[in-house]
Symmetry: C2
Subunit: 140 residues, 2 copies
DNA sequence: TTCTTGACTTAGACAATGTCCAATGTAGGA
DNA sequence: TCCTACATTGGACATTGTCTAAGTCAAGAA
């Protein structure tokens, strides 16, 4: 994903300091941050960046297919930079962290034709929920 | 689900007019309402019911396992009264409506042991997304 | 290099959804 | 019927996200 900025410029993106910083934050650790977390990390590098710009930039990256938007609970959406590899998610019900996982087979094939009700299906997401080893090691 | 109120009373629920109305709204149509929609429908039958009570009651029904909480997008959560039959969801990306669907096989078996990272997995949700026949019939 | 311009950013108001609390009301047992 | 622990209420507050008007700047043109 290191050539992300090049790809974006090729698509007519105007390259600003703000966009570069947001892209770098996502490109760094391979974690699933919320918009607010991205904003906090971006602020460390570019103190005057605004919330609105972070939201705008994340939205653009999602539209361009460079980043996935994940909403596992009813809380803040998280942004997944691993958009170019097909994968699903494993979520800890206690601490909320997310891991990418890879399933066998195509989940779409598990839905029989009569169960599709005439929908034109374009996407399937599978989310596994449980307690992560770190949380289960703790009491309470 | 008509004996829902009986089951709840058996579990020590104090039966109030407000709780009865919320349960009846969910019990009626087999749709997936948001909390606000439940509140609107409950208000038709019991005008003085408050938002807080609707939220409380929905939360209790979820804790008791009588209703499922579904958050497909980053918007309002929806409440699914069909908690006693295993099923998955088919969501229209345009209008947001949800249909219950039944898949073949157990989605959990598609996740190999090494991909579980020591999690104690308790739940799998599969969500199919696409355009429903009604929306695809419309322009724009 | 400098100029120009339309795209980008900003701050803050606003919107949608959900949570919390102190005061008041009431279901159900004694 | 009376008590009281539990439930409800209204409204303040919190979180997350969206919108807009005004100012700023990247990148191509000259």
């Amino acid at each position: 994903m290191s050539d992300l900025l090049e790809r974006l410029r090729g698509r007519g993106w105007r390259l600003t300091a703000q966009r570069r910083v947001v892209a770098e934050v996502l490109d760094g650790d391979h974690v699933h941050y919320t918009a607010d977390e991205v904003h906090a990390l971006a602020t460390e590098r570019l103190p005057e960046i605004s919330r609105a710009t972070v939201y705008n930039t994340l939205g653009e990256l999602v539209s361009l297919g460079e980043v996935l938007e994940v909403s596992t609970d009813g809380r803040a959406k998280r942004y997944d930079p691993n958009a170019h590899h097909d994968h699903q998610h494993l979520v800890c019900s206690r601490c909320g962290t997310i891991r990418d996982v890879h399933v066998q087979g195509d989940p779409l094939s598990a839905l029989p034709e009569p169960e599709r009700y005439g929908f034109d299906i374009s996407e399937v997401t599978v989310t596994y929920r449980g307690i992560c080893p770190h949380c289960s090691g703790h009491h309470s």
